[in-house]
């Protein structure tokens, strides 16, 4: 593949410029599939989606379709959805429950852990010569769950999930996990946008666009104009490209809230939604920086943790260089009252997803940005990510967590592309571990 040999020098993080070709080039895309999606840890599903043994859910790792399934030992397995015989898929429903995976072509039957159970004519036709043990469904190289969030990697050399996430990725997930006994609400919204996946990821850190892109939401009273200024921003950069950007809560206000909770004073909904941050558990899990963090994490490469409103995850699945699927997973606390859950669900239904009053207006911007990168002359000029560049300092909290207190900025976006380039230039996990950019420690 053309991409193989080249060294990518398309992200200039000194000047904050990113070459546009990375948003539409076919070779770059093939390269991303090989070096990022086939190598990294990818979000697959939440354990609550796999209630019992046999429960399954279909997802993708790049363009490889995988089945997440709870096996007989209650372990979650992640299997490539392709029969080793002629390559047919063995699961076509996007979710459900099954006793095994039966291939509709010749009837090879696979156990929930992928093992090849039965082969028609094993004696009659194969004369007992078929080594079934080598012909199970290919399983992901590693599968791990962090507080119920299931991830998988197809690369056996990948570090374990904990090392991969680091404290930043973990914090990202804690922003949902620490709210209670969380489960996925039935119903994943899925839609396809004609944009490059990176522009969708870039956007999740983007607190600059709401005021304009979502101006109509303010006009119809769904949001409050001033809310959209976002002057108190906290950015956290993590190893391998994870990052968090968005609102920061005030230490004092949280302390004060804790007191009011202790003294049993009654709270307005906005406060209520923050109470969990004042618990011991939360502080222990997330540290002093974590509890203050109200922003948007991205678990590299493509998992947005939308923790500002009702807790949701948005997975961005690449469909070629010019298309991306958005899959919305919505979470709720099992112990929440029906009324509370209903309110949260209503909000989730109306904010994001293809008909969401906010998200409606995002896709077209991304698709135009993607399309213009095909222009022969237009693409010669890089995009600009200089907002706040070299303006901000890293703070290291007593918790040893380092972060940036600032205003709306493009630090996280630039970090995303810089890390992306590290991945693209590494020909193995070894190389990536050795050569990836260190998290900045002084200024950004």
């Amino acid at each position: 593949m053309a991409g193989e040999m080249m060294v990518y020098d398309w992200v200039d993080y000194e000047s904050g410029q990113v070459d546009r070709r990375i948003f539409s080039d076919q070779d770059v895309y093939q390269h991303e599939l090989e070096r990022i999606f086939a190598r990294g840890w990818n979000f697959i599903c939440h354990e609550s989606q796999l209630a019992e043994s046999g429960s399954f859910f279909l997802n993708y790792i790049g363009e490889d379709q995988v089945i997440a399934v709870r096996d007989r030992d209650q372990q979650v397995q992640v299997l490539l959805n392709s029969c080793p015989h002629r390559g047919n898929t063995v699961c076509s429903a996007e979710l459900g429950r099954t006793r095994s995976f039966f291939c509709s072509y010749h009837g090879w039957n696979f156990d929930l852990d992928g093992k090849l159970l039965a082969v028609p004519g094993e004696q009659e036709y194969y004369r007992g010569q078929l080594d079934k043990s080598r012909l199970g469904l290919k399983t992901a190289a590693q599968v791990e769950s962090y507080k119920g969030f299931v991830f998988a990697t197809l690369d056996p050399e990948a570090p374990n999930l904990t090392d991969y996430l680091g404290w930043v990725g973990a914090l990202g997930l804690d922003l949902i996990a620490e709210r209670g006994d969380m489960e996925v609400v039935d119903g994943i919204q899925k839609n396809r946008i004609q944009c490059n996946w990176k522009l969708a990821v870039d956007n999740l850190f983007d607190w600059y666009h709401p005021k304009v892109s979502h101006g109509s939401a303010a006009r119809i009273g769904l949001m409050n104009e001033d809310e959209l200024r976002y002057m108190n921003q906290m950015v956290i950069l993590g190893e391998y490209g994870h990052a968090i950007g968005g609102a920061a809560f005030d230490e004092g206000k949280l302390a004060n809230l804790a007191e009011r909770v202790a003294s049993g004073g009654d709270l307005d909904p906005v406060d209520k939604a923050k109470v969990w941050r004042t618990t011991e558990g939360a502080r222990e899990a997330m540290g002093s920086v974590g509890v203050r963090c109200g922003g948007h994490p991205n678990i590299f490469p493509n998992l947005w943790v939308s923790a500002a409103g009702p807790p949701q995850l948005c997975l961005r699945i690449p469909r070629g260089p010019l298309a991306t699927e958005l899959w919305w997973f919505t979470f709720a606390d099992r112990h929440q009252s029906t009324a509370e859950r209903r309110t949260a669900v209503m909000m989730a239904n109306h904010i994001f997803g293809p008909s969401g009053l906010l998200e409606q207006d995002d896709g077209e911007n991304w698709s135009h940005s993607t399309r213009t990168s095909l222009g022969t002359v237009t693409r010669r000029r890089p995009l600009d990510f200089s907002m706040g560049l070299r303006q901000d300092r890293i703070t290291v909290a007593d918790s040893d967590q380092s972060y940036i207190d600032t205003v709306v900025n493009e630090h996280a976006q630039l970090w995303l592309y810089r890390s992306w380039q590290d991945w693209m230039n590494a020909d193995s996990w070894r190389a990536l571990i050795d050569n990836h950019s260190p998290v900045p420690t002084d200024t950004v």
């Binding site: 979710l95 459900g96 099954t98 119903g187 839609n191 009273g221 239904n349 293809p354 207006d361 911007n365």
Partner: protein, 179 residues
């Protein structure tokens, strides 16, 4: 079908004609972007709902649609619909600026029931075609169930609409229009 059964063929045909014309006028108001007039056709307690559809095996049909109160693509009361309409009218709702060109076509209209509360239940197929900008095209196909009731003046109002899209993964950038 209490009331319906009592109707003579001719009465049923007249009712059907009236219903069909109502649905056509309603569709036309959306295509002509007369959204405020469209809102006038709804009852105070309208429920406008499109569940999420999933590909499931034939032995698990219960998983095909999400249920009322759960995740959905539309789950609107009058307030939410007014918001959507206000948004469609706002010049800074970018997914509709320039405005989409839509065509709501309704077919196979059937009066399937009349409820004791006097509501008529109408089923139909729909095709919503949208084109935008130079050459973007979307086609949303499925069936609908509408509950109609008459107001004091005897005019129909839409009291409930359930929209069942045939697609599972939505192949569009957004759903910024009404169905």
């Amino acid at each position: 079908m209490t009331k319906i059964a009592d109707l003579s063929h001719n009465e049923l045909m007249l009712l059907h004609f009236e219903v069909e014309q109502f649905l056509y006028r309603e569709a036309n108001l959306l295509d002509e972007r007369h959204f405020d007039e469209w809102i006038e056709l709804l009852t105070e307690d309208i429920h406008y709902w499109m569940p999420i559809r999933r590909t499931t095996t034939s032995n698990q049909p219960e998983l095909e649609f999400t249920s009322i109160g759960g995740m959905a693509l539309f789950d609107d009361n009058l307030d939410f619909l007014k918001m959507r309409v206000a948004k469609l009218g706002a010049s800074n709702a970018w997914s509709e600026e320039p405005p989409s060109r839509t065509r709501h076509s309704v077919s196979n209209v059937r009066i399937v029931d009349a409820e004791d509360n006097g509501r008529i239940v109408v089923a139909c197929n729909f095709q919503l075609y949208r084109t935008r900008l130079e050459s973007e095209e979307d086609s949303w196909i499925g069936c609908r169930k509408d509950w109609l009731e008459r107001n004091a003046q005897g005019h129909f109002k839409l009291a409930q609409r359930h929209i069942f899209l045939d697609q599972t993964t939505i192949l569009s950038q957004n759903m910024s229009t009404l169905f």
